[in-house]
Protein backbone atom coordinates (compact mmCIF):
# COMPACT_ATOMS: atom_id res chain seq x y z
CA UNK A 1 0.00 0.00 0.00
CA UNK A 2 1.37 3.33 -1.02
CA UNK A 3 0.00 6.70 -0.06
CA UNK A 4 -0.77 8.78 -3.13
CA UNK A 5 -2.03 12.28 -2.75
CA UNK A 6 -5.24 12.69 -4.79
CA UNK A 7 -5.16 15.94 -6.71
CA UNK A 8 -7.21 17.58 -9.43
CA UNK A 9 -10.57 16.56 -10.77
CA UNK A 10 -11.31 13.72 -8.38
CA UNK A 11 -11.55 15.87 -5.27
CA UNK A 12 -9.94 13.20 -3.15
CA UNK A 13 -7.31 14.26 -0.71
CA UNK A 14 -4.60 12.20 0.90
CA UNK A 15 -6.29 9.07 -0.25
CA UNK A 16 -4.76 5.69 0.36
CA UNK A 17 -4.54 3.92 -2.98
CA UNK A 18 -3.19 0.54 -3.93
CA UNK A 19 -1.22 1.16 -7.10
CA UNK A 20 1.06 -0.89 -9.34
CA UNK A 21 3.03 2.16 -10.41
CA UNK A 22 6.43 2.62 -8.83
CA UNK A 23 6.36 5.73 -6.72
CA UNK A 24 9.72 7.53 -7.01
CA UNK A 25 11.46 7.99 -3.70
CA UNK A 26 12.05 11.45 -2.30
CA UNK A 27 15.03 13.17 -3.84
CA UNK A 28 18.11 12.11 -1.97
CA UNK A 29 20.28 14.84 -0.57
CA UNK A 30 23.43 15.02 -2.63
CA UNK A 31 26.68 14.17 -0.79
CA UNK A 32 28.21 16.85 1.41
CA UNK A 33 31.05 17.55 -1.03
CA UNK A 34 28.71 18.27 -3.91
CA UNK A 35 26.52 20.45 -1.72
CA UNK A 36 29.56 22.51 -0.69
CA UNK A 37 30.66 22.88 -4.30
CA UNK A 38 27.17 24.03 -5.33
CA UNK A 39 26.92 26.49 -2.53
CA UNK A 40 30.30 28.08 -3.11
CA UNK A 41 30.71 27.91 -6.87
CA UNK A 42 29.48 31.49 -7.27
CA UNK A 43 32.03 32.65 -4.71
CA UNK A 44 34.64 30.55 -6.50
CA UNK A 45 34.11 32.62 -9.67
CA UNK A 46 34.87 35.75 -7.64
CA UNK A 47 37.97 34.24 -6.05
CA UNK A 48 39.21 33.09 -9.45
CA UNK A 49 38.74 36.56 -10.90
CA UNK A 50 40.60 38.13 -8.01
CA UNK A 51 43.41 35.59 -8.41
CA UNK A 52 43.70 36.39 -12.13
CA UNK A 53 43.79 40.07 -11.24
CA UNK A 54 46.60 39.47 -8.72
CA UNK A 55 48.60 37.45 -11.24
CA UNK A 56 48.07 39.93 -14.09
CA UNK A 57 49.23 42.88 -11.98
CA UNK A 58 52.46 41.01 -11.22
CA UNK A 59 53.09 39.58 -14.67
CA UNK A 60 52.58 42.92 -16.44
CA UNK A 61 54.23 44.90 -13.64
CA UNK A 62 51.35 47.38 -13.43
CA UNK A 63 52.09 50.36 -11.20
CA UNK A 64 50.05 50.53 -8.01
CA UNK A 65 48.56 53.94 -8.75
CA UNK A 66 47.27 52.61 -12.11
CA UNK A 67 45.89 49.27 -10.94
CA UNK A 68 46.77 48.09 -7.44
CA UNK A 69 46.89 44.39 -6.66
CA UNK A 70 43.87 42.99 -4.78
CA UNK A 71 45.76 42.45 -1.53
CA UNK A 72 46.73 46.14 -1.58
CA UNK A 73 43.04 47.06 -1.91
CA UNK A 74 42.08 44.75 0.94
CA UNK A 75 45.05 46.01 2.95
CA UNK A 76 43.81 49.56 2.45
CA UNK A 77 40.66 48.61 4.36
CA UNK A 78 42.69 47.36 7.32
CA UNK A 79 44.80 50.55 7.38
CA UNK A 80 41.79 52.54 8.62
CA UNK A 81 38.86 50.17 9.12
CA UNK A 82 36.80 52.57 11.27
CA UNK A 83 37.09 55.30 8.64
CA UNK A 84 36.05 53.00 5.77
CA UNK A 85 33.12 51.55 7.71
CA UNK A 86 31.99 55.03 8.72
CA UNK A 87 31.99 56.33 5.15
CA UNK A 88 30.28 53.13 3.95
CA UNK A 89 27.56 53.68 6.55
CA UNK A 90 27.13 57.32 5.48
CA UNK A 91 26.42 56.29 1.90
CA UNK A 92 24.22 53.41 3.08
CA UNK A 93 22.11 55.72 5.25
CA UNK A 94 21.85 58.43 2.58
CA UNK A 95 20.82 55.91 -0.06
CA UNK A 96 18.32 54.31 2.35
CA UNK A 97 16.81 57.67 3.24
CA UNK A 98 16.63 58.67 -0.44
CA UNK A 99 15.04 55.38 -1.41
CA UNK A 100 12.61 55.53 1.51
CA UNK A 101 11.48 59.02 0.56
CA UNK A 102 11.24 58.07 -3.13
CA UNK A 103 9.18 54.98 -2.30
CA UNK A 104 6.81 56.93 -0.06
CA UNK A 105 6.36 59.85 -2.46
CA UNK A 106 6.38 57.61 -5.54
CA UNK A 107 3.70 55.22 -4.28
CA UNK A 108 1.68 58.15 -2.95
CA UNK A 109 1.83 59.99 -6.25
CA UNK A 110 1.02 56.80 -8.18
CA UNK A 111 -2.09 56.31 -6.02
CA UNK A 112 -3.15 59.91 -6.69
CA UNK A 113 -2.58 59.60 -10.44
CA UNK A 114 -4.39 56.25 -10.52
CA UNK A 115 -7.44 57.92 -9.00
CA UNK A 116 -7.53 60.94 -11.28
CA UNK A 117 -7.01 60.88 -15.02
CA UNK A 118 -7.01 64.69 -15.00
CA UNK A 119 -4.17 64.82 -12.49
CA UNK A 120 -2.22 62.34 -14.58
CA UNK A 121 -2.74 64.45 -17.69
CA UNK A 122 -1.58 67.59 -15.87
CA UNK A 123 1.44 66.17 -14.03
CA UNK A 124 2.80 63.33 -16.13
CA UNK A 125 4.67 65.45 -18.74
CA UNK A 126 6.49 67.29 -15.97
CA UNK A 127 7.41 64.05 -14.27
CA UNK A 128 9.19 63.18 -17.47
CA UNK A 129 11.15 66.43 -17.28
CA UNK A 130 12.35 65.56 -13.79
CA UNK A 131 13.28 62.17 -15.11
CA UNK A 132 15.41 63.35 -18.04
CA UNK A 133 17.16 66.09 -16.08
CA UNK A 134 20.58 64.58 -15.35
CA UNK A 135 20.97 64.38 -11.61
CA UNK A 136 24.69 65.01 -12.04
CA UNK A 137 23.73 68.49 -13.27
CA UNK A 138 21.43 69.24 -10.34
CA UNK A 139 23.70 67.83 -7.66
CA UNK A 140 26.20 70.75 -7.44
CA UNK A 141 23.29 73.18 -7.24
CA UNK A 142 21.77 71.19 -4.38
CA UNK A 143 25.11 71.36 -2.58
CA UNK A 144 25.06 75.15 -2.97
CA UNK A 145 21.55 75.26 -1.52
CA UNK A 146 21.92 72.81 1.32
CA UNK A 147 25.61 73.09 2.11
CA UNK A 148 27.80 70.45 3.65
CA UNK A 149 25.05 68.22 4.95
CA UNK A 150 23.72 64.84 3.86
CA UNK A 151 20.59 66.59 2.52
CA UNK A 152 21.73 67.20 -1.10
CA UNK A 153 22.95 63.60 -1.34
CA UNK A 154 19.62 62.27 -0.10
CA UNK A 155 17.76 64.50 -2.55
CA UNK A 156 19.77 63.20 -5.53
CA UNK A 157 19.14 59.61 -4.37
CA UNK A 158 15.42 60.43 -4.12
CA UNK A 159 15.20 62.06 -7.55
CA UNK A 160 17.00 59.26 -9.33
CA UNK A 161 14.96 56.44 -7.76
CA UNK A 162 11.60 58.22 -7.73
CA UNK A 163 10.52 57.94 -11.36
CA UNK A 164 10.60 54.16 -11.92
CA UNK A 165 8.52 53.72 -8.76
CA UNK A 166 5.79 56.14 -9.91
CA UNK A 167 5.54 54.76 -13.44
CA UNK A 168 5.59 51.08 -12.56
CA UNK A 169 3.31 51.35 -9.53
CA UNK A 170 0.82 53.37 -11.56
CA UNK A 171 0.86 50.61 -14.17
CA UNK A 172 0.24 48.03 -11.44
CA UNK A 173 -2.66 49.98 -9.95
CA UNK A 174 -4.20 50.35 -13.40
CA UNK A 175 -3.77 46.78 -14.58
CA UNK A 176 -6.07 44.94 -12.19
CA UNK A 177 -8.27 42.33 -13.87
CA UNK A 178 -11.33 44.28 -15.13
CA UNK A 179 -13.59 41.33 -14.34
CA UNK A 180 -12.34 41.36 -10.75
CA UNK A 181 -13.27 45.05 -10.65
CA UNK A 182 -16.67 44.11 -12.12
CA UNK A 183 -17.05 41.45 -9.45
CA UNK A 184 -16.42 44.09 -6.80
CA UNK A 185 -19.02 46.27 -8.54
CA UNK A 186 -21.64 43.50 -8.31
CA UNK A 187 -20.84 43.35 -4.59
CA UNK A 188 -21.43 47.12 -4.46
CA UNK A 189 -17.95 47.55 -3.01
CA UNK A 190 -16.79 51.05 -2.09
CA UNK A 191 -13.91 52.57 -4.10
CA UNK A 192 -11.77 52.19 -0.97
CA UNK A 193 -12.56 48.48 -0.79
CA UNK A 194 -11.77 48.03 -4.49
CA UNK A 195 -8.48 49.77 -3.86
CA UNK A 196 -7.56 47.79 -0.77
CA UNK A 197 -8.78 44.37 -1.90
CA UNK A 198 -7.93 44.46 -5.61
CA UNK A 199 -5.81 47.31 -6.92
CA UNK A 200 -3.24 47.43 -4.14
CA UNK A 201 -2.50 43.70 -3.91
CA UNK A 202 -2.47 43.54 -7.71
CA UNK A 203 0.14 46.31 -7.85
CA UNK A 204 2.55 44.65 -5.39
CA UNK A 205 4.50 42.65 -8.01
CA UNK A 206 4.86 45.86 -10.03
CA UNK A 207 5.92 47.74 -6.92
CA UNK A 208 8.67 45.25 -6.25
CA UNK A 209 9.76 45.25 -9.89
CA UNK A 210 10.23 49.02 -9.57
CA UNK A 211 12.08 48.59 -6.27
CA UNK A 212 14.48 46.15 -7.94
CA UNK A 213 15.41 48.99 -10.29
CA UNK A 214 15.17 51.88 -7.86
CA UNK A 215 16.98 50.53 -4.81
CA UNK A 216 20.38 50.16 -6.55
CA UNK A 217 19.68 53.48 -8.32
CA UNK A 218 19.38 55.15 -4.92
CA UNK A 219 22.93 53.99 -4.14
CA UNK A 220 24.13 55.55 -7.39
CA UNK A 221 22.21 58.73 -6.54
CA UNK A 222 23.83 59.02 -3.12
CA UNK A 223 27.29 58.46 -4.66
CA UNK A 224 26.64 61.06 -7.38
CA UNK A 225 25.54 63.54 -4.73
CA UNK A 226 28.69 62.89 -2.69
CA UNK A 227 30.74 63.25 -5.86
CA UNK A 228 29.27 66.68 -6.48
CA UNK A 229 30.37 68.01 -3.14
CA UNK A 230 29.58 68.25 0.51
CA UNK A 231 31.15 66.00 3.09
CA UNK A 232 31.11 62.32 3.87
CA UNK A 233 30.27 59.19 2.02
CA UNK A 234 32.14 56.90 -0.32
CA UNK A 235 31.65 59.25 -3.28
CA UNK A 236 33.54 61.91 -1.38
CA UNK A 237 36.31 59.50 -0.43
CA UNK A 238 36.60 58.57 -4.12
CA UNK A 239 37.21 62.20 -5.08
CA UNK A 240 39.80 62.71 -2.37
CA UNK A 241 41.62 59.43 -3.06
CA UNK A 242 41.81 60.20 -6.76
CA UNK A 243 43.40 63.60 -6.19
CA UNK A 244 45.91 61.90 -3.84
CA UNK A 245 46.61 59.17 -6.40
CA UNK A 246 45.51 56.78 -3.62
CA UNK A 247 44.28 54.25 -6.19
CA UNK A 248 43.93 51.34 -3.71
CA UNK A 249 41.41 53.45 -1.77
CA UNK A 250 39.56 54.32 -5.01
CA UNK A 251 39.34 50.61 -5.81
CA UNK A 252 38.15 49.83 -2.30
CA UNK A 253 35.37 52.41 -2.62
CA UNK A 254 34.30 51.08 -6.02
CA UNK A 255 34.16 47.51 -4.70
CA UNK A 256 32.21 48.58 -1.59
CA UNK A 257 29.78 50.67 -3.70
CA UNK A 258 29.07 47.59 -5.81
CA UNK A 259 28.57 45.57 -2.65
CA UNK A 260 26.11 48.20 -1.36
CA UNK A 261 24.11 48.03 -4.60
CA UNK A 262 23.89 44.24 -4.36
CA UNK A 263 22.85 44.56 -0.72
CA UNK A 264 19.98 46.91 -1.62
CA UNK A 265 18.86 44.61 -4.41
CA UNK A 266 19.01 41.61 -2.11
CA UNK A 267 16.84 43.28 0.52
CA UNK A 268 14.19 44.03 -2.13
CA UNK A 269 14.21 40.45 -3.45
CA UNK A 270 13.92 39.10 0.10
CA UNK A 271 10.92 41.37 0.74
CA UNK A 272 9.38 40.28 -2.55
CA UNK A 273 9.65 36.60 -1.64
CA UNK A 274 7.88 37.23 1.64
CA UNK A 275 5.09 39.49 0.40
CA UNK A 276 4.08 38.17 -3.01
CA UNK A 277 4.49 34.45 -2.64
CA UNK A 278 1.38 34.01 -4.80
CA UNK A 279 2.95 35.58 -7.88
CA UNK A 280 4.34 33.32 -10.66
CA UNK A 281 7.64 35.25 -10.69
CA UNK A 282 8.24 34.19 -7.10
CA UNK A 283 6.74 30.71 -7.43
CA UNK A 284 9.09 29.85 -10.30
CA UNK A 285 12.18 30.36 -8.15
Amino acid sequence: MKSVRGWGSEMTFDQELLVRAQIPAEDERPPVGLRLVRRFRVVAVLLLTVALWAIAVRVFEVKRFIVPSPELVIGRFFDTPEFVIREFMVTLLEASAGFGIAATLGVGLAILLARSALLEELLYPYLNIIRVTPSIAIAPLLVVWFGHTPTPHIIVATIISFFPIVVTTLLGLRSADPELINLMATLNASPQAVFRKVRLPNSLPYLFASFRISAPLAVIGALVGEFAGGTGGMGNVLIVSRSNLDTPMSFLMIVLSGFLGILFYGVVVAGERRLIRWHPSVQLD
Binding site: S9, M11, N182, L183, T186, L187, N188, A189, K197, W278
Partner: protein, 272 residues
Amino acid sequence: MSGTPLAQERVAARAEEAAPAIESRDLCIVYGRGSRAVVALEGVDLRIDAGEFVALIGPSGCGKSSFLRAVADLLPARTLQGTLRVEGKTTEDARRANSFAFVFQDPVLAPWRTVMQNVSLPLEVVPPERRSGTRSPRELIDLVGLTGFEDVLPSALSGGMRQRVAIARALTLEPSILLMDEPFGSLDELTRDRMHDELLGIWSTTTASVLLVTHSIAEAVYLADRVVVMTPRPGRISAVLDIDFPRPRSAALKTTVEFLEKTNEIRARLGL
Protein backbone atom coordinates in the same frame (compact mmCIF):
# COMPACT_ATOMS: atom_id res chain seq x y z
CA MET B 1 -46.85 30.09 -15.45
CA SER B 2 -44.69 27.48 -16.96
CA GLY B 3 -42.76 24.42 -16.02
CA THR B 4 -43.29 21.19 -14.19
CA PRO B 5 -45.37 20.79 -11.04
CA LEU B 6 -42.11 20.92 -9.11
CA ALA B 7 -41.04 24.15 -10.73
CA GLN B 8 -44.48 25.60 -10.16
CA GLU B 9 -44.28 24.72 -6.50
CA ARG B 10 -41.00 26.52 -6.21
CA VAL B 11 -42.52 29.55 -7.84
CA ALA B 12 -45.72 29.37 -5.82
CA ALA B 13 -43.83 28.92 -2.57
CA ARG B 14 -42.56 32.43 -3.00
CA ALA B 15 -45.71 34.03 -4.29
CA GLU B 16 -45.50 36.59 -1.50
CA GLU B 17 -42.64 38.15 -3.42
CA ALA B 18 -44.95 39.66 -5.98
CA ALA B 19 -42.29 41.18 -8.22
CA PRO B 20 -40.65 38.84 -10.74
CA ALA B 21 -36.95 38.19 -10.26
CA ILE B 22 -36.14 39.90 -13.53
CA GLU B 23 -38.41 41.74 -15.88
CA SER B 24 -37.39 43.52 -19.07
CA ARG B 25 -39.73 45.40 -21.38
CA ASP B 26 -38.63 46.53 -24.80
CA LEU B 27 -35.04 46.53 -23.66
CA CYS B 28 -32.48 47.75 -26.19
CA ILE B 29 -28.73 47.98 -25.72
CA VAL B 30 -26.70 50.25 -28.00
CA TYR B 31 -22.93 50.48 -27.72
CA GLY B 32 -21.14 53.54 -29.13
CA ARG B 33 -22.73 56.43 -30.90
CA GLY B 34 -23.32 57.83 -34.37
CA SER B 35 -21.85 55.88 -37.26
CA ARG B 36 -20.01 53.52 -34.91
CA ALA B 37 -23.11 52.55 -32.95
CA VAL B 38 -23.75 48.82 -32.52
CA VAL B 39 -27.16 47.55 -31.52
CA ALA B 40 -26.40 44.64 -29.20
CA LEU B 41 -29.97 43.99 -28.09
CA GLU B 42 -33.24 44.92 -29.77
CA GLY B 43 -36.61 45.05 -28.03
CA VAL B 44 -36.24 42.24 -25.51
CA ASP B 45 -39.28 41.35 -23.39
CA LEU B 46 -38.51 38.76 -20.75
CA ARG B 47 -39.94 37.87 -17.38
CA ILE B 48 -38.19 35.53 -15.02
CA ASP B 49 -40.10 34.45 -11.94
CA ALA B 50 -38.59 33.98 -8.52
CA GLY B 51 -37.05 30.54 -8.17
CA GLU B 52 -36.98 29.91 -11.90
CA PHE B 53 -33.98 28.55 -13.77
CA VAL B 54 -33.75 30.22 -17.18
CA ALA B 55 -31.09 29.67 -19.80
CA LEU B 56 -30.21 32.17 -22.54
CA ILE B 57 -28.78 30.53 -25.61
CA GLY B 58 -27.60 31.83 -28.94
CA PRO B 59 -24.57 32.34 -31.14
CA SER B 60 -21.87 34.92 -30.40
CA GLY B 61 -23.12 38.46 -30.84
CA CYS B 62 -26.75 37.68 -30.00
CA GLY B 63 -26.60 39.96 -26.98
CA LYS B 64 -27.09 37.30 -24.33
CA SER B 65 -24.05 38.35 -22.32
CA SER B 66 -25.00 42.00 -22.78
CA PHE B 67 -28.43 41.24 -21.35
CA LEU B 68 -26.87 39.50 -18.36
CA ARG B 69 -24.49 42.39 -17.76
CA ALA B 70 -27.35 44.85 -18.07
CA VAL B 71 -29.22 42.95 -15.35
CA ALA B 72 -26.07 43.09 -13.20
CA ASP B 73 -25.79 46.86 -13.73
CA LEU B 74 -22.35 46.41 -15.28
CA LEU B 75 -23.14 48.44 -18.42
CA PRO B 76 -23.07 52.25 -18.59
CA ALA B 77 -26.61 53.56 -18.12
CA ARG B 78 -26.54 55.45 -21.41
CA THR B 79 -26.30 52.19 -23.37
CA LEU B 80 -29.71 51.03 -22.11
CA GLN B 81 -33.17 51.87 -23.43
CA GLY B 82 -36.48 50.48 -22.24
CA THR B 83 -37.27 49.04 -18.82
CA LEU B 84 -35.30 46.58 -16.78
CA ARG B 85 -36.36 45.67 -13.25
CA VAL B 86 -34.75 43.28 -10.82
CA GLU B 87 -37.12 42.25 -8.02
CA GLY B 88 -39.12 45.35 -8.82
CA LYS B 89 -36.11 47.63 -8.38
CA THR B 90 -33.83 49.35 -10.85
CA THR B 91 -30.70 47.35 -11.57
CA GLU B 92 -28.64 49.88 -9.63
CA ASP B 93 -30.82 49.58 -6.55
CA ALA B 94 -30.80 45.79 -6.87
CA ARG B 95 -27.03 45.85 -7.03
CA ARG B 96 -26.87 48.13 -4.00
CA ALA B 97 -29.16 45.73 -2.17
CA ASN B 98 -26.89 42.80 -3.11
CA SER B 99 -29.85 40.99 -4.64
CA PHE B 100 -27.77 39.01 -7.10
CA ALA B 101 -24.41 37.35 -7.52
CA PHE B 102 -22.52 37.08 -10.78
CA VAL B 103 -20.50 34.09 -11.95
CA PHE B 104 -18.18 35.00 -14.79
CA GLN B 105 -16.96 32.92 -17.69
CA ASP B 106 -13.54 32.81 -16.08
CA PRO B 107 -13.39 32.09 -12.36
CA VAL B 108 -12.06 35.63 -11.68
CA LEU B 109 -10.38 34.70 -8.41
CA ALA B 110 -7.90 36.98 -6.67
CA PRO B 111 -4.62 35.08 -7.19
CA TRP B 112 -3.20 36.40 -3.91
CA ARG B 113 -6.07 34.95 -1.90
CA THR B 114 -6.46 31.34 -0.81
CA VAL B 115 -9.63 29.39 -1.61
CA MET B 116 -11.05 30.29 1.80
CA GLN B 117 -10.13 33.97 1.41
CA ASN B 118 -11.66 34.12 -2.07
CA VAL B 119 -14.92 32.56 -0.89
CA SER B 120 -14.97 34.96 2.07
CA LEU B 121 -14.36 38.08 -0.05
CA PRO B 122 -18.06 39.09 -0.21
CA LEU B 123 -18.22 38.94 3.61
CA GLU B 124 -15.31 41.38 3.83
CA VAL B 125 -16.80 43.77 1.29
CA VAL B 126 -20.49 43.76 2.17
CA PRO B 127 -21.36 44.98 5.69
CA PRO B 128 -23.77 42.76 7.68
CA GLU B 129 -26.67 45.22 7.49
CA ARG B 130 -26.66 45.00 3.68
CA ARG B 131 -26.68 41.20 3.52
CA SER B 132 -29.86 39.27 2.86
CA GLY B 133 -28.19 36.21 4.33
CA THR B 134 -24.88 34.54 4.92
CA ARG B 135 -23.63 31.03 4.44
CA SER B 136 -20.49 29.87 6.14
CA PRO B 137 -17.58 29.82 3.67
CA ARG B 138 -16.41 26.51 5.12
CA GLU B 139 -19.81 24.96 4.49
CA LEU B 140 -19.85 26.31 0.91
CA ILE B 141 -16.37 24.98 0.21
CA ASP B 142 -17.65 21.62 1.40
CA LEU B 143 -20.74 22.01 -0.81
CA VAL B 144 -18.61 22.45 -3.93
CA GLY B 145 -16.38 19.56 -2.89
CA LEU B 146 -13.22 21.46 -2.07
CA THR B 147 -12.78 20.52 1.56
CA GLY B 148 -9.08 20.20 2.24
CA PHE B 149 -8.19 22.93 -0.25
CA GLU B 150 -9.14 25.90 1.96
CA ASP B 151 -5.61 27.24 2.26
CA VAL B 152 -4.51 26.57 -1.31
CA LEU B 153 -3.87 29.41 -3.76
CA PRO B 154 -5.89 29.43 -7.02
CA SER B 155 -2.75 28.83 -9.08
CA ALA B 156 -2.52 25.33 -7.57
CA LEU B 157 -6.07 24.38 -8.61
CA SER B 158 -7.43 22.93 -11.85
CA GLY B 159 -9.85 24.96 -14.01
CA GLY B 160 -12.89 23.06 -12.74
CA MET B 161 -11.85 23.52 -9.12
CA ARG B 162 -11.36 27.26 -9.65
CA GLN B 163 -14.83 27.57 -11.14
CA ARG B 164 -16.26 25.74 -8.15
CA VAL B 165 -14.54 28.29 -5.90
CA ALA B 166 -16.21 31.04 -7.96
CA ILE B 167 -19.61 29.38 -7.51
CA ALA B 168 -19.07 29.00 -3.77
CA ARG B 169 -18.14 32.69 -3.59
CA ALA B 170 -21.32 33.62 -5.47
CA LEU B 171 -23.43 31.76 -2.89
CA THR B 172 -21.80 33.34 0.17
CA LEU B 173 -24.37 36.09 0.58
CA GLU B 174 -27.35 33.83 -0.26
CA PRO B 175 -28.32 35.90 -3.29
CA SER B 176 -31.91 35.55 -4.49
CA ILE B 177 -30.67 35.70 -8.08
CA LEU B 178 -27.65 33.95 -9.61
CA LEU B 179 -26.40 35.43 -12.89
CA MET B 180 -24.07 33.06 -14.70
CA ASP B 181 -22.18 34.00 -17.86
CA GLU B 182 -21.08 30.77 -19.57
CA PRO B 183 -19.67 29.55 -16.26
CA PHE B 184 -18.72 26.13 -17.65
CA GLY B 185 -17.56 27.26 -21.08
CA SER B 186 -13.88 26.74 -20.41
CA LEU B 187 -14.24 23.32 -18.80
CA ASP B 188 -13.73 19.93 -20.38
CA GLU B 189 -16.85 17.87 -21.03
CA LEU B 190 -16.41 15.45 -18.14
CA THR B 191 -15.92 18.23 -15.63
CA ARG B 192 -18.79 20.19 -17.15
CA ASP B 193 -21.19 17.27 -16.79
CA ARG B 194 -20.28 16.88 -13.15
CA MET B 195 -20.59 20.64 -12.59
CA HIS B 196 -24.12 20.53 -14.05
CA ASP B 197 -25.22 18.01 -11.46
CA GLU B 198 -23.42 19.95 -8.75
CA LEU B 199 -25.12 23.18 -9.79
CA LEU B 200 -28.56 21.52 -9.82
CA GLY B 201 -27.81 20.02 -6.41
CA ILE B 202 -26.71 23.37 -5.02
CA TRP B 203 -29.65 25.17 -6.60
CA SER B 204 -32.09 22.70 -5.01
CA THR B 205 -30.73 23.70 -1.60
CA THR B 206 -31.43 27.38 -2.27
CA THR B 207 -34.46 29.38 -3.33
CA ALA B 208 -32.52 31.39 -5.87
CA SER B 209 -33.53 32.13 -9.42
CA VAL B 210 -30.84 31.45 -11.99
CA LEU B 211 -30.22 33.21 -15.27
CA LEU B 212 -27.61 31.24 -17.18
CA VAL B 213 -25.99 32.31 -20.43
CA THR B 214 -24.66 29.38 -22.42
CA HIS B 215 -23.43 28.24 -25.81
CA SER B 216 -24.41 24.66 -25.18
CA ILE B 217 -27.89 23.45 -26.19
CA ALA B 218 -27.63 20.31 -24.07
CA GLU B 219 -26.55 22.34 -21.05
CA ALA B 220 -29.53 24.67 -21.44
CA VAL B 221 -32.03 21.82 -21.80
CA TYR B 222 -30.58 19.80 -18.95
CA LEU B 223 -30.49 22.64 -16.44
CA ALA B 224 -33.27 25.09 -17.18
CA ASP B 225 -37.02 25.42 -16.62
CA ARG B 226 -37.15 27.63 -19.69
CA VAL B 227 -34.75 28.20 -22.56
CA VAL B 228 -34.65 31.59 -24.25
CA VAL B 229 -33.32 31.29 -27.79
CA MET B 230 -31.68 34.41 -29.21
CA THR B 231 -30.48 35.39 -32.67
CA PRO B 232 -27.78 37.90 -33.55
CA ARG B 233 -27.43 41.21 -35.38
CA PRO B 234 -29.36 42.73 -33.78
CA GLY B 235 -29.79 40.53 -30.69
CA ARG B 236 -33.38 39.39 -30.41
CA ILE B 237 -35.39 36.71 -28.65
CA SER B 238 -36.56 34.30 -31.33
CA ALA B 239 -38.25 31.71 -29.11
CA VAL B 240 -38.90 30.75 -25.52
CA LEU B 241 -39.25 27.04 -24.81
CA ASP B 242 -40.54 25.37 -21.67
CA ILE B 243 -38.48 22.43 -20.49
CA ASP B 244 -40.87 20.19 -18.59
CA PHE B 245 -38.57 17.39 -17.50
CA PRO B 246 -39.24 16.57 -13.85
CA ARG B 247 -36.73 17.40 -11.17
CA PRO B 248 -34.47 16.22 -9.73
CA ARG B 249 -32.86 15.51 -13.07
CA SER B 250 -30.02 13.10 -13.58
CA ALA B 251 -27.56 12.35 -16.36
CA ALA B 252 -29.81 9.53 -17.63
CA LEU B 253 -32.15 12.22 -18.93
CA LYS B 254 -29.59 13.23 -21.52
CA THR B 255 -29.96 9.93 -23.37
CA THR B 256 -33.76 10.00 -23.63
CA VAL B 257 -35.63 10.63 -26.88
CA GLU B 258 -37.55 13.53 -25.32
CA PHE B 259 -34.29 15.22 -24.42
CA LEU B 260 -33.02 14.78 -27.96
CA GLU B 261 -36.27 16.19 -29.33
CA LYS B 262 -35.91 19.29 -27.17
CA THR B 263 -32.35 19.89 -28.25
CA ASN B 264 -33.39 19.42 -31.89
CA GLU B 265 -36.20 21.90 -31.47
CA ILE B 266 -33.76 24.49 -30.11
CA ARG B 267 -31.29 23.65 -32.85
CA ALA B 268 -34.03 24.37 -35.38
CA ARG B 269 -34.92 27.65 -33.68
CA LEU B 270 -31.28 28.66 -33.86
CA GLY B 271 -31.40 28.02 -37.60
CA LEU B 272 -28.90 25.16 -37.45
